[in-house]
Symmetry: C2
Subunit: 787 residues, 2 copies
């Protein structure tokens, strides 16, 4: 947890006004730049000190053997992990023979600022060397949204008091030493020097390294070029190269008032198939493009890209400045994670760290894609196209498991299952319905018929086939899905998990509907009328467990009969997360919920519950839910808002929003929680804004505010239109900024919205209910009331 | 599977009349000699060819790291595996410079015979060397029941046609090369050369090696001495020693009619605590004892020991000669596994192979101890004393799991949990009730009050405490045990497993009863009246799931609602065992039973079911039970007999009996299935004989025979008495060979049995029911009907 006030609260930036070595690893994640293709952690320009050096390329990974004490049929043999690729960020500085290293000497001033509108990381530092030489260093770093293979740095040094001799070393470094994290020595070994040198060169100001990975057989080329400005007579340049380091050296003698300035342009290319010459050319071509654009050109493009993004996606929050900052921070990082992923996955940490081995999970579709769908729909469709590209592997996995259709992996980089603990991996089949749900949501929000035909339909059909083969009818005709694991990872291998069954139900119906909309494409996939009828039958007969005595839905069959976890005995922070202190066997068999499961079902399948049911269920599950997952708070916020616990909705919104900025789970060092960041947006838009898409033809809002907030406004794209929704505690105003007239529902009442004029409606009151309690010590931090 | 008629059928021996290299590994298991302390596989005297060289000492193991792809709280970090200790069996022979190696030259004749009354392995061989020299080799091997640290070999060579020069090399060999079995390279590495040399010596005819293990820090001393008889003038002896080999060499020139004879005495000592000198002395002392007894003396002692055993334990079967042989073979091997274990475990394979890493499981208490309890009660009590000695570790494990009392390990050598897959390890808590059941059975069968006070009570109390903390009452007061795994390993992590709950119920009651019988000892264990009342409450409120629609008990809550496995799709031998061809997730969630679970409960807790319920349940579970475990057939045999399927009872008896002799599970090479061998006895005594002990004061029989058998007779010890029960299809005769008069029940009708005269009673008829079917292709082999 970041205890000190690490970051200044400001609406459009994240500013760190002094350097704190203790939270260096966390700040590297927070200040990471990415475009979804390249990711550069916010490591200091000079490379050291660091927490975790990190340069990532989406999809570039190494394999390692997965060990089992007792093996079993269908266990994946090979794991995958993202690797730290060639570091193009490093610019070392020597000041009169003293390395510029902030652990020594005196820091007079050190500011870093992530500018959310400019899309750059700026740094400004005044430092006095141990020998007493004072310099100012300013740098700006950009990972280009417009040129996805390109990142660049501008680096400027000036002496403050005396003449100094400076040496700058701008490098490409492969196989950097990284701290050991993995427990398995074989995994660690696979990652120690993951890159095998293939080629290196240094010529003039241009550097290049080409490497390949040993087991996954991926090749990566990194090229850099430089523009140097310094005092004409004293500035000298040389370069050299070896297997793992390619280096440009600039020396200069500067008087006060003079500056040495370096622009560094870096381009990456990687491929599983392209030859070394082809890949070398690819990186060089990207580099030439960047050089041609120039430093200022890159900054201008970046600004333009982000202006457009904020224009369609910004969220305004009055009354809680931290959340205002956090939601924009979240929007920015989610954009960074997905903007240019382009037929690659969005990992749980984006490209901000190596946490979870760089794997993608269900949260990409369920938590991240909603934001992208309504703000950057193309990015959302690219993720789903990636899933579709992995269908051959997913079909093979289903077949290995004795199932029809496709079984998508629980965790993966390239589409192969990489989870070695099946009760919380393979058994979590809901990932398949989550993907289908993302397809339905995307098509409903965009009307992208071409996508549905060429991509969505395949995903819907193959996942529906999976569900039909995974479930079965009992003798009374009810359809059951047994022995699976829902979102709550403190339960596993349960029968009729309500979330899974409800999501499978809509998956089956959506597949049948889509097949009927596109009969020719469906026929190509072998879909028959008998098959769609079987899907509809299974959906209609789907079991959703309910405890009539308690009047609540069961998370899974028998759940409410289980013993309630002894929360009194685990009321200290030291007992959490429970999974580090208690065995799975005990967690699984008791009523204790790691993360929203039935509560998430009540959001995503809100149509399956009455408001009263939602309120009763929420009241039942709140005291059982410990939120040991970053994926929980925002779901609880959405449902709390719907059932009328507005203060609690605000509290959970705050928890989701501050997950990384306050490092609430003590692991922001490994990368940001992209899903929680996206969830913050959802908590505002679907929670407080009450946005729902049920049938896709219209869009519904039921806006409502907690006491502390005076105004919320958000923008989004819907079926080619730009919408703006702004609401206070008493009224809501809907604006159509662009596009054809559209039907909007305000608290269930439809009206037509046109660009001609905004529509304002009153916000009705709502039933107040007693606020439910959380497990001892697990209440979210109360957000401030206004005076 | 051993396809050829490997062994001659004979009532008191197992005789192999030719050497078949294809089944060498299996025959090494079948011909293994052991006394429960030392185990020597039936490797050929000359060491090679071999399948798996094996010399074991009970409890001597090495540790190795347990790997996890994703680790979890409470997972054991360290595995254990039995190691192949110093081989004292090897006697190599050179015939005129040609090694006596049966892979070369010509075998004229080769016979091996395990003599079940003499307790020795005899071998006789005539061989012609590639150079044409013919010799006869005879050897006899004994592992002494009376002197538990001692084994010995007599080895005799004679030329058959010409004078030959012979060289005998009698060796102690440490760190023999063994075939790789473990999949994990780290485990294999730990076992490659497990013994570190500490001392070696060779002096005259005496050899000695002392080694210790690297991680488990156990020291083992092996000493050998020899008696040589050969032609006076030509016989010469020398010896030499190095780290891992100590060797006696005998050379002689023999004319036809002359013999060279070697007696080799081997003694082992091992300890975790004793010093090198102390352990050296221990092995030497045992050796001196053996030398003093002499070869013939050892044979005489062995015969005496076995005469006594057969007198109290023999089972006669008329009408199925294979089963007659197999049941004695089983009795002999179970005796070998347990006779002198003395506060050590009985591993699943005894000391006949390294299968299951030499671990002991619940089958020691549930399957092996019944036989020992009624035939060698001291051996049974020693196993339970071993469990009691491991209580400190079991208490610690319970505490780690958040439970009270003791949690015994699922698999172990020294008492530490060594199972790395918790759903089929830690979750199988029934092992604790199985231990308690063995205590109750032992005390009931022996009346050993001292044992109950000093050992049994502790085991009962600590296991009862476990159950009380593992289960909970629901709001209606019913007691449930959730999220555990019963005997059927094709289900896991289920609620209210009927077997577990019923065994826990009797565990709780037995603990309360024993505590009330021994109030002073109970008080020392901290047992209060409140605590025993809580045990009785939980037992009285125990849930046993029942499906009223089907009229059958559920193996666990909801089991009968699950989808039935598609047996039609898995009707080929190639699909079995299912666990090698289908994922656990699919097995767990469907109605498919690996091994008797509810059916075992109906035997061990027969009092909890009516006969009609037993018949209905048996008919329901038979078509679901695939018997992918060697632990299943005998339980099915017992219950089949009780509900009146006598032919089926005979078939299952046959399957259990022939498990190793016909290698039905294709893994007899790794060691014998000691539990299945013991189960054969149980199928005869408790199945056909209908023996039950319910309240311990009397003993009940309900004998009944299938058509093919004409007579069965068995002997057993009960409360210090020697009983004999003999029955045909029409009548049963009960004889008290020794001891005070006793009440016996024949089909529920009590009578007094005295040594004065046997009592004969008619065998009543029984209700014939339609025989249930088994899954496609999984019916047991039908035993022959008489003509």
């Amino acid at each position: 947890m970041i205890e000190h006030p690490a970051y200044d609260v400001a609406p459009w930036s994240l500013r760190e006004s002094e350097l704190n070595f203790d939270v260096l690893p966390q700040s590297e994640s927070v200040f990471a730049l990415s475009n979804g293709h390249i990711g550069w952690r916010g490591n200091l320009d000079e490379g050291e000190p660091n927490g975790l050096p990190g340069s990532y390329l989406n999809g570039l990974f190494e394999r390692h053997p997965l060990p089992y004490g007792e093996s079993g049929y269908g266990y994946p043999e090979s794991g995958q992990t993202v690797i730290n690729v060639t570091n193009g960020k490093v610019i070392r500085l020597l000041v009169d023979d003293e390395p510029f290293d902030l652990r020594y000497g005196t820091i007079r001033h050190h500011v870093r600022e992530l500018d959310l509108r400019a899309g750059v990381l700026r740094r400004s530092c005044e430092w006095v060397s141990p020998a007493g030489r004072a310099v100012r260093v300013r740098s700006t770093r950009v990972v280009s949204f417009q040129q996805r293979a390109v990142a660049a740095i501008s680096y400027e040094v000036e002496p403050l008091e005396d003449q100094v001799r400076l040496v700058l070393q701008s490098e490409l470094i492969a196989n950097e030493e990284i701290p050991r994290v993995a427990g398995d020595p074989r995994v660690a070994a696979a990652l120690e020097s993951p890159l095998q040198a293939e080629e290196n060169s240094a010529s003039g100001t241009r550097l290049r390294l080409v490497h390949s990975t040993q087991r996954s057989k991926l090749r990566v080329a990194t090229a850099a070029d430089h523009r140097v400005e310094g005092p004409e007579h004293t500035t000298k340049i040389s370069s050299e190269s070896s297997d793992d380091v390619s280096r440009l050296t600039v020396t200069a003698v500067l008087d006060t008032g003079q500056k040495l300035r370096l622009e560094k342009f870096v381009a990456y290319g990687w491929s599983a198939t392209r030859s070394l010459p082809a890949l070398r050319d690819q990186a060089d071509a990207a580099l030439v493009g960047a050089l041609d654009t120039g430093w200022q050109g890159l900054l201008d493009q970046q600004r333009e890209y982000l202006d457009d993004f904020w224009e369609r996606a910004d969220v305004e929050v009055d009354g809680d400045t931290e959340i205002q900052q956090a939601v924009r921070f979240g929007l920015f990082h989610v954009l960074q994670a997905g903007a240019r992923a382009e037929e690659r996955a969005i990992p749980a940490k984006g490209l901000t760290g190596s946490g979870y081995d760089g794997h993608t999970f269900w949260d990409a579709e369920t938590f991240v894609l909603p934001l992208l769908t309504f703000t950057s729909p193309r990015a959302a469709s690219e993720v789903l196209r990636w899933r579709c590209n992995t269908l051959p592997v997913a079909r093979e996995r289903a077949s290995q498991l004795g199932l029809s259709g496709a079984a998508f992996p629980w965790r993966t980089i390239n589409g192969d299952e990489a989870s070695s603990y099946w009760p919380a991996g393979t058994a979590a089949f809901h990932v398949n319905a989550d993907i289908a749900d993302a397809v339905v949501r995307y098509v409903a929000a965009t009307g992208d018929d071409a996508f549905e035909k060429d991509t969505g339909l395949q995903l819907l059909v193959e996942t529906a086939r999976l569900w039909r083969s995974l479930g079965h009818h009992d003798h009374a005709g009810a359809f059951h899905i047994d022995g699976v694991t829902g979102p709550d990872e403190y339960s596993a291998i349960a029968d009729d998990n309500a979330y899974t069954n409800l999501m499978a139900q809509s998956n089956l119906v959506a597949a049948a509907d889509a097949a009927e909309r596109h009969p020719r494409h469906a026929a190509e996939l072998g879909v028959t009328a008998e098959e769609t009828a079987a899907w509809r039958d299974a959906a209609a007969a789907m079991t959703v467990p309910y405890n009539a005595d308690l009047g609540v839905h069961e998370q899974s069959a028998g759940f409410t009969r289980h013993q309630v976890w002894n929360f009194t005995a685990t009321d200290s922070e030291d007992n959490y997360p429970l999974l580090l202190h208690y065995p799975y066997f005990d967690l699984y068999r008791k009523q204790v919920v790691k993360q929203a499961d039935l509560v998430l079902a009540m959001y995503l399948r809100g149509d399956a519950f009455t408001l009263e049911e939602k309120a009763r269920n929420f009241a039942y599950y709140e005291p059982l839910t410990v939120r040991d997952s970053s994926l929980s708070a925002y779901c609880q916020s959405v449902v709390a808002a719907e059932v009328g616990h507005l203060q609690l909705a605000h509290d959970y919104l705050g928890e989701s929003a501050m997950m990384d900025l306050e490092d609430l789970e003590n692991n922001a060092r490994d990368g940001l929680h992209i899903a929680a960041l996206a969830g913050t947006w959802t908590a505002l838009v679907a929670g407080l804004g009450g946005m729902r898409l049920f049938d896709g033809d219209s869009i519904r809002f039921s806006p409502r505010l907690p006491d502390a907030l005076s105004r919320v406004a958000f923008r989004l794209l819907f079926r080619g239109r730009r919408l703006r929704v702004e609401f206070t505690r008493t009224s809501a105003t809907y604006t159509l900024a662009e596009g054809e007239p559209i039907e909007v529902l305000h608290y269930g009442e439809p009206f037509e919205l046109t660009t001609a004029r905004p529509v304002t409606r009153d916000v009705p009151g709502y039933q107040h209910r007693p606020e439910p309690s959380q497990p001892a010590g697990r209440a979210p931090r109360r957000r401030h009331h206004p005076a």
